[in-house]
Symmetry: D3
Subunit: 298 residues, 6 copies
């Protein structure tokens, strides 16, 4: 097995390679003056199994194209079975036709990956668990839940915590998460306008008074949901609010807003690489879980 | 027939639509905060033939992804035959494996287009005329030659001109071009180091003394080739140097370099949209030719 | 346009044909002694556009195979564009991998339909709105909402009604439905054990005292959800409970249970054909909507 | 290599697994209340070669769908090379367009198998030996001939036997079969009305007086052919009539008719599982041959 | 509709075009000095429906490659629906694996045709009627039977004729043919060694004394079968023997052998073009039937 | 690994097999009387990796069809990974649409190879280095350059030689070749009429007086280019002219023309098998390079 990294999340790829005690395949990824990506894999890989690690994170279209170029080069080099780890699947939130005339962008991306000489895809905590059905190659759908649960148990006393989901969609995962340390569950009822996407009303079902509230989510985008949820919980008497989100996308002023908010801490997995994150945000490493999963295959 | 434009070259799409006396299909192309493209085609197109106009110009990966999203939306809307005009085919210069371990990027792009619910592709003055063989859908390969020849005849007296190609690769096209107004041909012999791409030697075959030299090329990138060619020609006695290049990519300081060079004028077609070009560079409109070609099909 | 019906929902096909003032294509569908289906389309259809109507209802596997045989025959007959109306998409509830080692049955069915000489699929009120992304042919996703809303307005005074969803998953649709006649929304909070599928707790958010409660759902299977919801609502003071569900699958003793329950009425669309339904259950006809949609295409 | 069985012929799968000294893969195949099949493969199979055993016997459509669901699950589990043994290929008798407007059902089934993540198919004594050409995956076409010949030699003295085919179509196989023990060949000339399929005339070419007649066929359906052939042979002086047929489909009253007929014995292979067969019908086991064939591949 | 002819059977293509009152598309088919075919279609065909006529007759591989080149050119020219008439399908007799290690050549050819931008195929009197199942595009399977029957009625008095098949395989077609003029049927029982293909025994079932025997077959290869059959029939008292065979392949010395044999006449259809045939062999024209069939489609 | 040879270049296949110390797979390739190829692979190859060697040389269409039949047989036999060595890729010079209405024959051939159960293709010194992009399977593009350079060094003193390309197209390869022994480069400037292909003018850039001129080319067809180049060089003072061309196609009177020309020697690789070549032409063996390359894969 060989590990090959695109340019989107080199730190994660390096950690996976370290776990497996393998060097990364030597690769040169640059760009021509006109912005076109230039990919060069500098090792012979004929007949070898290769794992490609590439997050479809910002700038998402460049990272996708880079990925497709890498896969074409791998095919020409004669790599045998190519598995790909896509820690964050860009476009996965565009998972249906909201208004006639829209594409299903997640399906477009799934088709690109399916056509690209790929034998298996590893995805992590998808917002929509039906998305593996968009692919024409098999997907392993992994979760950061156990990593997060271990962290919760390390940091907090189980008696003082309650688990919450910031909205309905995440309730199922919150319930699975809470079950990992037998914590009670509360629910924030958030109504969104379907066209504009704006939250129009918020309510809380359950008691949080003097509790440490653990909120679990698949993704933080602008941070609006989490800061609002934290404010609501504190108003309702919560002592502390700690967010766990697999994917930290952090668009716009997300990082500033979180830093200056009532949130006590945010924990994300390292599915998306950020040069530097504010102190309030800690990152947990998925490399051991990914390495262990990959080892079963090769 | 309906005309639909991506965001890369709206002026050209508008001109084609005008030629055909058709309104552009109403479309909204925006981006989410995390940089993901959002495409919305706002009209019913079921059973209609649609022409999509999108240049794969800078930022090339975004324009390609936008294109794929548009095509997915068109398929869901039930458009009948979809033809696509790709005035500048980004990645077309990466047309072979130069070093083992490289992709054939032009093939990757051709496959993306071929998979995307497309019935026919219109391409213009490809650097490599075998590229239509990379596609699994039929391509019409068009040329700006006649448009350029008409412009030459308008501006210059045929007796005073000679035609030149700035390098070997373009000699065939230069010969075809010169034949359109019976001008003599000169040849600039430019040696490039194959690894670095740097020009290592230049020579001139033919007489240019006191002549108006018309240089014809498929694409201007950094402008280095054209400014060097112009300098050489002037040293050899040329009175004026005028460049005709279908695609004006203009990377880096190309525009400044051309403006301050010995070149008398540069003429490009409008395959790539630029907000503003310096006075020395004029743009000719391909919309009439494209409109006429499209009309034969629908 | 020609209409061709499989054996699963001949009454609906006949009604669509009547709306379009077309005869059904003459077809003979029988079975050999060993149970193999035998399909014979008795008319020439070369170059004609054909709409196939087949519900993937019980016995679902036979109806799917019959459908595939019809499509093969249509291809050999040279039908031009074949659109298929699948009023109830069997296997659509198996839309993800619940436990490792399970198939995504909905994807398997989507692939069968996608491979089978089909240009467009019409689906109705899918439980999971991402399912069109499982298909490799475009889908039109239609809804019975407007038909149901018209029926509500006819039967009830808007002031006395509240709209409810029997569970979280349907809340979005309930909200869209309630918006059609500006009714208030209540929410039944139903917790299910994820492995067993059993409901473990139920709660109500909102006031139903002395109200006529309109419940909206995509599908009724065993009827357990609806009878429990009705009991809960009546306990909480509701005057009447009326269910609207697009698909009436009615497994096991569903019909008996509904008849003897506290429910005042159940309304379903005719996506699944039943020889006879108890008095409490009324059926509304989707043929006018389908006919109108189809007419836009041909 | 792992052996996985569908629900259609578990006894054969068990015997193959025994021959290979392998346990069957643990699998749960059930149905939801609405009749939809539910498949769950309970073991990890990543990177393993898997042989699936499933007869496309009655109820044929359910067994086919179950097969497709198993294959989808195997793909998601990451099984490496999947070979499938289809001892009886349902729909294989619908192998051409008899009347315009009919499908080629055997081709439809072959396409389903070809699309379903299958590397090789094992088929047994097909009625039409061109059917492997319907598949897009390679087929191994095996025969029960040698198993049957060994049984004939065990039970009968070679001098007293003659071999017969009940109709023209089977003459080639009968000749091959007779060659295995150098027996003379007789031929029953059976005319069928092509539309109705009814036998309109029967004749015998060859002498059977006081002979033990061994009849060889690929499949027994209603048993009409074999009982008529036996009656004719007995009228012409045959002492005993023994039928060997690879596939015992036994539709309608076949079992009763055979039991009460002039036939002395019927021997079938275990390609189709029957809970209980009358005394006159014996079953021979193909598992040793299949196991031996499979062992060559893995 | 436009008619385009390959070089294998220009006379038939011209006759079809005449029937339809259309000129043939102007085409230049030549070869380079190294034997590579060079195809040039000299007319614009964008958006037009095109019928290609090409017999896969000797030299079969050249005619197949020429066909594939024509189809590629048609696709690039943008022809709309391309239907192909393959009057004689070369390789169709290699329709199964006779010995392990052999290809199914008929399937290979069917795949080539299916991949080649073809919407529908017209085939004539295939030896094996399951071959349409080898194609992935729909086939219309036509027959010369009615043309031949009309010719029989014209030339002979119905009372004096009997119909015969030279072997078992053709018995079904002979029966269908005899039914067209209510003639009695006789059967020549020809045993072939399966490996060598040599006839090892011949017998006659039925009375031919003083009769005009009409023999019907799909194809004449070396003529051995027909001359032997004629000799046998004459020995058994037949007055005249007349053969009707759709395809006259005539390998080796077939023409000489037939001329000098006891056969009174041979009639073939013009599926294969021969520069000159001996007097005993007449050719009937399928162009009217083909033209009529094609007209139904366009 | 097993080596299987078609009939086009058995000597090369035998040499590769010898290098690898493997026997060739026993195969019987013959033709039926009607000219149809008959392929029979006489060994079991299930699960084995197979290398097929077949030159697409004259008669090119027969060699291609033979190749496709071999591949179909290999698939049915269950060969695992099939790699194919195509030493001379027939039709590779028809690599673009020269005139509208022409096919891209090289693409047609590439598609045939890509569809034919092939995992990797080995090609040698293609005239157009973009042709690997026509294939949908990965290609290894090998060169005879090093073999030729070794031969040059063996035969000539480096000081006395200059390297020349007979035309522009080959200049890049000539430069790479000259770099292998640091020889100076001269250039023959040959103008061709684009429609007729006739050379209209020739010029020489560089000094060849009293030099041994080594000319390098990818392919010799009619030999016209090489004899003209030799004459020109001798006129300009060259002492000797020696041609190195990977592919010796030798059409028409090429062999006679070369023999009687001013050329001192011609060296070709054994990509195309010739029964006998004149004394002036020597053949170098590519088997060691091919064997070494293949060994890296298996």
């Amino acid at each position: 097995m060989r590990i090959l990294s695109g340019s989107s999340n080199l730190p994660l790829a390096r950690k996976i390679a370290e776990q497996l005690q393998l060097p990364l395949v030597e690769t040169e990824i640059s760009a021509f003056a006109n912005g076109e990506k230039r990919v060069w894999i500098k090792e012979k890989l004929d007949g070898q199994d290769v794992v490609v690690v590439q997050s479809f994170s910002h700038p998402v279209d460049e990272h996708i194209m880079e990925f497709l170029l890498m896969l074409d080069a791998l095919e020409r080099l004669g790599a045998r079975d190519v598995h790909v780890v896509i820690p964050w699947l860009g476009y996965s939130l565009q998972d249906k036709v909201f208004r006639p005339g829209e594409p299903i962008a997640a399906k477009v991306v799934a088709k690109l990956v399916s056509h690209a000489y790929v034998k298996r895809v590893y995805l992590i905590d998808l917002h929509n668990t039906s998305i593996p059905g968009f692919f024409d190659v098999p997907c392993s759908h992994l979760s950061a839940n156990e990593l997060f649960a271990a962290n919760v148990k390390e940091r907090f006393s189980t008696e003082e915590i309650v688990v919450a989901s910031p909205d309905f969609g995440g309730l199922k995962r919150a319930r699975q998460f809470a079950a990992l340390f037998d914590a009670p569950l509360v629910n924030i009822d958030k109504h969104r306008d379907l066209t504009t996407g704006k939250v129009t009303a918020v309510g809380l079902h359950g008691n949080v008074t003097d509790k440490v509230v653990i909120l679990i989510e698949d993704v933080i985008l602008s941070g609006g949901t989490v800061t609002e949820a934290s404010d609501l919980l504190k108003e309702e008497g919560a002592r502390e609010t700690h967010f766990f989100s697999t994917h930290g996308v952090f668009t716009g002023n997300a990082l500033e807003n979180i830093s200056s908010s009532s949130i006590d801490s945010v924990t994300v997995a390292n599915t998306i690489s950020h040069p530097k994150l504010p102190q309030k945000i800690q990152t947990l490493d998925l490399a051991p879980m990914l390495a262990e999963t990959l080892e079963e295959w090769f």
